[in-house]
Homo-oligomer: 333 residues x 2
């Protein structure tokens, strides 16, 4: 295993230590617990706070979206494992500026269990908490069973838009409503080329034949729609967009934001090539791209592959998408 590691069991804490050392002007740990991180200026009085969390290994998801115009705090689990309810409660109390807290995270069983418990405990302490679980992976369930879908790169849009809404001074109910609007209007499909290896186990998350790819494979290696032979970019992007377009019922005339997300080791040079194909395909369908993001927004350590996300836009979503944001891992000027 050629990884930058000391003892694999210290991987998460040592990595978080580096992040806190590098970005101390923007992030701080609570009581020197690197698993509980908040904006350096938290709590922001009168602002709805957004907290998130989940397993480690998906940077910039989750902690990379703690910053101005985004989320306020995060709790960090072990690699691909949920953090605890206690940590989420501590983060909740630290970020609450008196206007309530939105829990915004990916739709996974372990996270839901722990964060629901934290929500109850916070409410017992008279902090208003609401929760929205992002469920954007079209490969994991059909749209009419959306509560079963996994949360993947669409999380980025939820942080961006709910974060901008909160920064604009909206109420907890409004911030929750915009997060739910993102959830209803976003769809993601990923494709895996090769797995990552979890440091503590030394095991790859999945295996594929030398020229096979996994369409719809999850960011923890969950099974996808099918395995298939690698094809040219144009055909692959077209097939992925067929799924997304059908899921969002795009008929032409819509405006969307596009996210081409690298899963870890796929170079930006390839992601941009994919983006060129996305532009051509959507143009043929009469769908207009309002704003595009290309890069690493939700990863799985060194997994190879990428995902495409489409977010169907209206005037409100466009306004919040355009707002500035500033975290150590995502800046929009």
């Amino acid at each position: 295993m050629k990884k930058i590691l000391n003892d694999p069991k210290d991987f998460v804490d040592e990595s978080l230590r580096g992040i806190l050392l590098a970005h101390g002007s923007q992030l701080r740990a609570l009581d020197e617990d690197p698993r509980a991180i908040v904006r350096a200026d938290a709590p922001v009085a009168g602002k709805v706070a957004i907290t998130t969390g989940g397993g480690y290994g998906h940077i910039p998801v989750f902690l990379g979206y703690v910053g101005a115009g985004l989320a306020d705090g995060v709790c960090v689990g072990n690699v691909f494992n949920s953090p605890s309810a206690d940590t989420m409660l501590a983060v909740t109390k630290a970020v609450d500026g008196g206007a309530g807290v939105l829990y915004l995270y990916g739709n996974y069983f372990g996270d839901k269990m722990n964060f629901d418990l934290a929500q109850e405990l916070a409410q017992d302490e008279d902090i208003a908490v609401e929760s929205v679980r992002i469920a954007d992976d079209v490969a994991s369930a059909p749209r009419d069973e959306r509560e079963k879908r996994r949360g993947v790169a669409g999380l980025f849009y939820a942080y961006k838009i709910a974060g901008a809404c909160a920064a604009a001074g909206a109420s907890l109910a409004e911030v929750k409503r915009t997060a739910e609007k993102v959830n209803a209007n976003v769809a993601t499909l990923g494709v895996g080329f090769s797995p990552c290896t979890i440091p503590a186990s030394g095991q790859p998350t999945f295996s594929l034949a030398a020229d096979d790819i996994g369409l719809g494979i999850g960011i923890h290696g969950e099974p996808g729609i099918k395995e298939k032979k690698m094809t040219e970019a144009k055909a692959l992007v077209g097939e992925m967009l067929e799924y997304l377009s059908r899921d969002l019922a795009l008929g032409g005339g819509e405006e969307v934001s596009v996210l081409v997300n690298g899963l870890g080791s796929t170079p930006p040079e390839e992601l941009y090539l994919a983006y060129g194909e996305v532009v051509q395909w959507l143009d043929r369908q009469g769908v207009r791209i309002y704003r595009a993001y290309v890069g690493e927004y939700a990863t799985s350590l060194e997994m190879a592959g990428f995902s495409l996300s489409l977010l169907k836009l209206d005037a409100e979503l466009k306004k919040y998408l355009d707002a500035p944001a500033n975290s150590p891992f995502f800046k929009q000027i």
Copy 2:
């Protein structure tokens, strides 16, 4: 070869098309040639312009540093191959705002040959041009033969500092002097874990045994100092910093900027773990870190591994390092 590709011979142009489509508000191609890219607002009247260029496959090097507070134009070659003198001349003419142009690029034979020719041709057209070749890779030659060193991640510091100097209204001679000051004060050492594959050839850039790493291997797979067994992060970072510290004659009391650069597929989680080790090591030596950068700043497609760079600082370099910058691939607010 599981890459996002159509015909491998179209890789560079199709990838550049995607970049220009995604970032049209900040970058534009000259005469629809995607190999010649300038800032959307070029030329900036009265400002010294900085142009750069080199082979493709190192994003954000080179084109990722075209932006405000950085470089003004770039010419793009094939993967790991120099662009032409003609393209560099076209870029030079498009960015010249009347205050002259600095050619700032990595120290490689092919680039020097082509850009020296472009410089002559530009001077024939009465454009003042100076050149600085960044040569920061300590593995490629000893310091007293620095003109033989390869240019690697230290290029980032040259763009950042010379770019800020030019943005501040300095003369061509001043901008050149600051770039040369960076060159004299920066040192980089990389380590490769696994190679990348060039799309057009399908061949990996080097090969290593399953538990071997290449200390000092170049970003095109050039031979390094030695192959050795993978070790724990603390020992590996310490060994790399010994080379850099000796090269820069650090004795304690200095201030440096640190760059932990991922070469492609090494996850940010690991890079930050390395940064934590850098902090501890430099602290023991009495060297103060003024500003740190961790992420992908000079890559080699999907090569695994990382490099460490140290830039020895003085008041002038700190001032320019702190200045804002804004390109599609690098933002400092």
